[in-house]
C-alpha cells in the first residue's frame, strides 16, 4: 500500500483528535431521546457525559506514558478499541451498558489523542507545528460536537452518532501505513501547572455553553435537535475564525486572558438573557466561540511549548480539560436542576395568576387551567416545556390568544431564568482562569 502524503496524514490525525474530543459533547443534543428510550432520571442521564470525560481525564497521562514508548502501536490499538466501543454504544441494551461503553470510549480515546500528538510531531517534523495542529483539531472537535450530534440525532436518531464515529475513527489507521516513529524519551520537566489549571477552569466554564445551552434550546425553547444543532454552529465558526487571527496576538498569555474574558462575558450574557429566543444567544455565542478559539489554543500550546515528550504533556492537557468538563458537569447540574425546581413553582403560580386575571369566561378558567396542567404533566414526561399557546389559544377569541401568550411568556421566563445561575457560575469559573493565566505568564516564553 502506498504511504500517504504528509498533508493527508496530518488531516487524518487531526480528524482522529477532533473526533475523540467532539465525543465529549456530541451526545448532548441526543440526551432527551436517550432519556425517553432508557427511562432514566435527569440526574442519572448526566453519566452518559460524565463517564466519557472522567475516563478520558483519568486515562490521558497513563496512556501518554505508554504512547511515548510505542506511539504507532498505541494509536493503532486504541483506534480499533475506540471504534468498537463507539459501534457498540449504538446497540446498548440498557443505560448502564451505554455508560460503561462510554467509559471504554474515554480510555481508548485518551490513547488515540495523546498518541496522535507524537505521530503529528513525526509527520510535521516539528513539535511546535504539531502542537498547533493538535490544539486546533481539539478546539474544532470540541466546539463542533453538539452541532453534529444534533443534526445526526434529528435526521437518523441518536444511535447514528456512534455508527458514524466507528468508520471515521478507523480511517485514522491509514496514517500508520509506512510510518516509523522513534520512541520518545521520558519528559524531564514537570507539567506546566498554571496552563493546565487554567485549561481545567476554562473547560469547566465551557460546559455551560456546550451542554446547558443546547438543553435550553431543545428542552426549554422547544427547538428540534437539527435546528438547535444549526444554532450552536455559531460557536465553532467563531472559534475557527479566532484561531486564524490568534497567532497575531502576543504575548500568548494575553491571548489566553482575552479568551477567558470573552468566554466569561458570553456566559454572563447568557445568564442575563433579556428575552427567550435564539436571536439573543447569537452575540454571547460569538463571544464564547471567539474566546474558546483564543484560550484553548493558547493554553494548550503554552502547556506543550519547549517541552520534550509532548505526548505526556499533551496527556496532562487532556486530563486537565476533561477533568474541567467533569467538574463543570458535577458543579452545574445541581444548580441547574434546583433552578428548574424553584421556577416550576414560580411558573405555576404566575400561570395561575395569568388565568385568573384573564378576560376569558370565568367558568372557562377552571377548564383552561386543568388543560394546561395536563399539558404540563405530559410534557414533563418527555422532559420538555409544553406549547401552552396550542392548548389555550386555539379558540377564535382574542382573550384566549392573549391568555395563551401570557402563559407562554411566563413559561419562557421560568425556563430561561432557571438556567441563569448555572451560566453565571460558569462565567465565574472562566474569570477564575485568569488567576493561573496571569500568575503563569512568565513561566514559559512562547
Amino acid at each position: 500500500m502506498q504511504p500517504l502524503a504528509p498533508r493527508n496524514r496530518i488531516a487524518l490525525l487531526g480528524l482522529s483528535v477532533g473526533l475523540v474530543l467532539a465525543d465529549s459533547s456530541v451526545v448532548t443534543l441526543a440526551l432527551p431521546r436517550i432519556l425517553v428510550q432508557f427511562d432514566v432520571e435527569v440526574s442519572t442521564l448526566a453519566w452518559a457525559l460524565v463517564s466519557f470525560n472522567l475516563a478520558l481525564a483519568l486515562a490521558a497521562v497513563p496512556a501518554a506514558m505508554l504512547a511515548r514508548r510505542r506511539p504507532v502501536g498505541v494509536f493503532g490499538v486504541s483506534t480499533v478499541v475506540f471504534a468498537l466501543a463507539s459501534f457498540s454504544c449504538a446497540f446498548s441494551p440498557t443505560f448502564g451498558v451505554l455508560v460503561a461503553l462510554r467509559a471504554v470510549q474515554g480510555v481508548a480515546g485518551a490513547a488515540v489523542v495523546v498518541a496522535a500528538l507524537d505521530l503529528l510531531s513525526e509527520v510535521t517534523e516539528g513539535d511546535a507545528s504539531a502542537a498547533r495542529i493538535w490544539a486546533l483539531a481539539g478546539v474544532v472537535g470540541a466546539s463542533l460536537g453538539p452541532a453534529i450530534g444534533g443534526i445526526l440525532t434529528q435526521l437518523f436518531g441518536w444511535e447514528s452518532i456512534f455508527l458514524l464515529q466507528a468508520p471515521l475513527a478507523l480511517l485514522g489507521l491509514l496514517v500508520l501505513s509506512g510510518l516509523r516513529v522513534q520512541p520518545v524519551p521520558a519528559p524531564a520537566e514537570r507539567p506546566e501547572i498554571a496552563a493546565n489549571v487554567a485549561l481545567l477552569l476554562v473547560s469547566g466554564a465551557l460546559v455551560a455553553a456546550l451542554f446547558l445551552l443546547v438543553i435550553l434550546l431543545i428542552n426549554g425553547w422547544r427547538l428540534e435537535p437539527l435546528a438547535a444543532g444549526l444554532v450552536v454552529t455559531i460557536m465553532p465558526l467563531a472559534a475557527i475564525a479566532a484561531t486564524r487571527v490568534a497567532g497575531g496576538i502576543r504575548p500568548p498569555w494575553t491571548r489566553a486572558a482575552s479568551g477567558a474574558i470573552l468566554i466569561s462575558g458570553g456566559l454572563a450574557a447568557l445568564g442575563w438573557l433579556p428575552h427567550a429566543g435564539v436571536v439573543w444567544t447569537i452575540l454571547p455565542q460569538i463571544a464564547i466561540g471567539t474566546g474558546l478559539g483564543l484560550a484553548l489554543s493558547a493554553l494548550t500550546q503554552r502547556a506543550l511549548a519547549g517541552r520534550s515528550g509532548q505526548a505526556v504533556h499533551g496527556g496532562w492537557t487532556i486530563a486537565a480539560r476533561h477533568a474541567g468538563i467533569v467538574l463543570g458537569l458535577l458543579l452545574l447540574t445541581p444548580i441547574f436542576t434546583s433552578g428548574l425546581d424553584r421556577n416550576e413553582h414560580r411558573a405555576l403560580a404566575a400561570g395561575t395568576a395569568a388565568v385568573l386575571d384573564s378576560r376569558i369566561s370565568p367558568l372557562d378558567k377552571i377548564g383552561v387551567a386543568r388543560d394546561v396542567l395536563v399539558a404540563v404533566d405530559k410534557a414533563q414526561a418527555d422532559a420538555k416545556i409544553p406549547d401552552v399557546r396550542a392548548v389555550v389559544g386555539h379558540r377564535d377569541d382574542s382573550a384566549y390568544a392573549d391568555l395563551g401568550d401570557a402563559l407562554q411568556d411566563q413559561l419562557d421566563r421560568a425556563v430561561t431564568n432557571a438556567f441563569s445561575n448555572s451560566f453565571l457560575v460558569s462565567a465565574l469559573l472562566g474569570l477564575l482562569a485568569l488567576i493561573p493565566i496571569v500568575l503563569g505568564r512568565k513561566e514559559v516564553g512562547v
Binding site: 439573543w280 370565568p362 411566563q410
Partner: protein, 147 residues
C-alpha cells in the same frame, strides 16, 4: 495588552446591553399579596360576580395562611393537591374548609354592599356556601362550565 482591553470592552458592552434590556429581571412574574385588598370591580353578569366572590374569599384564606392566592387555587384543584396542601401547612381539612367558607360568606356580603348582588340572591348563596360540602361546591363550579 490591546487584545485584553478589546475583550473587556466587548464584554462590558454585551453584558451592559443585556442588563439594560432587563436581563437581570427576566423571571416569572411575582404574584400579588393576598392581604392587600383588591378593588371591587363592577362585573357584569352572574358568572363574573361569582368569580369575584370566589377570588376574594380565596384571597382571605390565603392571607390567613400566609400563602399566595394562586397557591390556594392550585391547592383546591383536586383532592390530592388539597391533601398535600393541608399536610404542608399543618392544618386540617376542616380548618381549610372553614377558611374558604368564611371567606365566601364575607365576599358575598361585600358584593351585596357594593350592589353587585341583591339580597335574595345573596341569601341563597349564603345558604349554599354554608351547607354544601367544599368538594361538592368545586364540582358544581366545574359542571357549570359545561352550560
Amino acid at each position: 495588552m490591546r487584545a485584553i482591553a478589546f475583550s473587556i470592552a466587548a464584554v462590558l458592552v454585551l453584558v451592559g446591553l443585556y442588563l439594560g434590556l432587563g436581563g437581570a429581571s427576566y423571571a416569572p412574574a411575582k404574584v400579588a399579596d393576598p392581604c392587600v385588598t383588591r378593588s371591587w370591580r363592577s362585573p357584569h353578569g352572574f358568572e363574573a360576580v361569582a368569580e369575584q366572590i370566589v377570588l376574594s374569599s380565596v384571597d382571605g384564606a390565603a392571607c390567613h395562611l400566609h400563602v399566595s392566592r394562586e397557591d390556594m387555587v392550585l391547592a383546591l384543584a383536586n383532592a390530592d393537591t388539597r391533601q398535600q396542601f393541608v399536610r404542608e401547612h399543618h392544618i386540617t381539612n376542616a380548618e381549610l374548609e372553614s377558611l374558604v367558607r368564611n371567606g365566601l360568606k364575607r365576599s358575598i356580603a361585600d358584593a351585596q354592599n357594593a350592589g353587585a348582588l341583591n339580597s335574595t340572591v345573596a341569601g341563597i348563596l349564603r345558604g349554599v356556601v354554608g351547607n354544601i360540602p367544599i368538594d361538592e361546591l368545586l364540582n358544581l363550579l366545574q359542571r357549570l362550565r359545561g352550560f
